[in-house]
Amino acid sequence: MTTLDELRAVVPAQGWLGEALERVAADPAAIGRLFPAVGRRCGRAPLPDAPGWSTDEAARALLLAALPAERVAAEAETLYRYGDAAEKRAVLKALPLLPVGDAGVPLLRDAIRTNDPRLVAAALGPYARRLDDAAWRQAVLKCVFMGVPLAVVDHLDERADAELATMLAGLLEERRAAGRDLAPDVLALLDRLKGV
């Protein structure tokens, strides 16, 4: 899992971000107006040295981490509540790096209820270990249904179980009855689960 220190190394606290981090540490409420501006100020390019992260996502994770620890859970909840899709995604990805315990689980559940594959995918990172098995299986099944590549699912093989195999096999049967198929990464997972 990518750590905060790795993100700090690839997105240095300079310029606008450096000032924003200092402001947030001194005045936590300032994050409400800084957080949405990150994409415009820091850019949105993917970060080759932090696979799966973009510049704006990393900078937003660092802003959250700059908050006083006791404020993080509440601010993350509010920023997610009022966030656009990019902000919501950044909060979801930052959750496993923040001192929030289980407080972020409702955000994950909200993201999984959406019909936006970017949010569903972001909800299935390392923090998803806090989801109960039934919710996690439904989320993986939803990824398959929406065409989100299973590579986004953290610890997929460790957690995938016989129940998930049954659900996937059911979906496969429906698809084939309709003359369609499932993506190769799903068929490969099913094979692994059946021990083929």
Binding site: G32, R33, P36, A37, G39, R40, Y82, G83, D84, A85, A86, K88, T114, N115, D116, P117, R118, A121, K142, F145, M146, G147, V148, P149
Partner: protein, 283 residues
């Protein structure tokens, strides 16, 4: 042909509309926050709506290769309902979003004291958040409403070049032409404004600071009337470059003043993982 529809309520439209719009040349849209026909009775209804304008609707548009931006405001009709007034305090969060390119629709519906107050407060927000403003002119008592709107704009101190007065017609265009404000025209399938009338206005008043939109919403309206107006311009002897100016460069210049308009091509896979969940009927 490339079209930016600077005023269209896509929330009320179907995926068929998106498909037909893309085929007609609409590459980008701006969706102003307005009322939904059914009155809202609490601030939460607004935040869910605003969330959709900066989250779900841009995603839906992106699946058809259309770039979606929004303008955010408490609209004049609902400004009169005290239960909705709290929305004003929630606006600053949304006015910082990447996809928000103006404050709007603000202005007048019935010209009440409540509308005066909310209109002025939101022009102040536009200045504070460095955004242009989209002003809806009332459908009833339009000429007086337009004059009064111009007075409020002048009093606010906002640069008139960052303001558009919308839903203008033959009677009100002259009131706005020399104010430095932009001029918006909504083309409807009924009597309010038609493509041939729009062409005559362009012939008479020129192309500078002119914006043409469909204002399509949940009422009787047509999201392809921008294209129909462009075709009518060509038939009347305007050049392709004239059409490009009115349908693309003008709205890009107006909303570009926000510093947030992004009309680079929508990335093939950026938003969807090629998931096409909408075409498949969702989950």
């Amino acid at each position: 042909m490339r079209i930016l529809d600077p005023h269209i309520h896509m929330t009320s439209r179907t995926t068929d509309d998106y498909e037909r719009m893309a085929a007609a040349g609409v590459r980008a849209v701006v969706e102003p926050a307005f009322w939904l026909g059914q009155p809202r009775t609490n601030p939460g209804s607004f935040t869910d709506y605003f969330d959709s304008l900066v989250g779900w609707e841009p995603f839906r548009a992106s699946q058809f290769g259309i770039r979606h931006h929004a303008t955010i405001a408490l609209n004049p009709k609902e400004a009169n309902d005290p239960r909705c007034r709290e929305v004003l305090g929630l606006l600053p969060r949304y006015l910082e979003k990447d996809g928000v390119v103006a404050v709007g629709e603000v202005g007048y519906d019935s010209m009440t004291p409540e509308e005066d107050e909310v209109f002025a407060a939101q022009l102040a927000l536009a200045i504070e958040h460095e955004l242009p403003a989209l002003v809806h002119t009332p459908h009833r008592d339009k000429a007086r409403g337009t004059r009064r709107s111009l007075a409020v704009v002048a009093e606010s101190g906002i640069d008139p070049g960052r303001v558009v007065l919308d839903h203008l017609n033959e009677v009100t265009v002259g009131l706005v032409r020399d104010t430095g404000c932009w001029l918006g025209f909504s083309i409807y399938p009924d009597t309010k404004m038609s493509p041939p009338r729009m062409v005559r206005i362009l012939q008479q008043y020129g192309l500078e600071r002119m914006l043409v939109n469909s204002a399509a919403d949940w009422g009787r309206s047509d999201p392809l009337l921008t294209r129909a107006t462009a075709d009518a311009m060509l038939e009347a002897g305007f050049t392709e470059d004239d059409v490009d100016r009115v349908m693309w460069r003008n709205p890009v210049e107006f909303y570009g003043q926000s510093g947030r308009l992004d009309v680079s091509a929508v990335a093939e896979t950026g938003a969807t993982f090629a998931g096409n969940s909408i075409q498949r009927g969702g989950s």
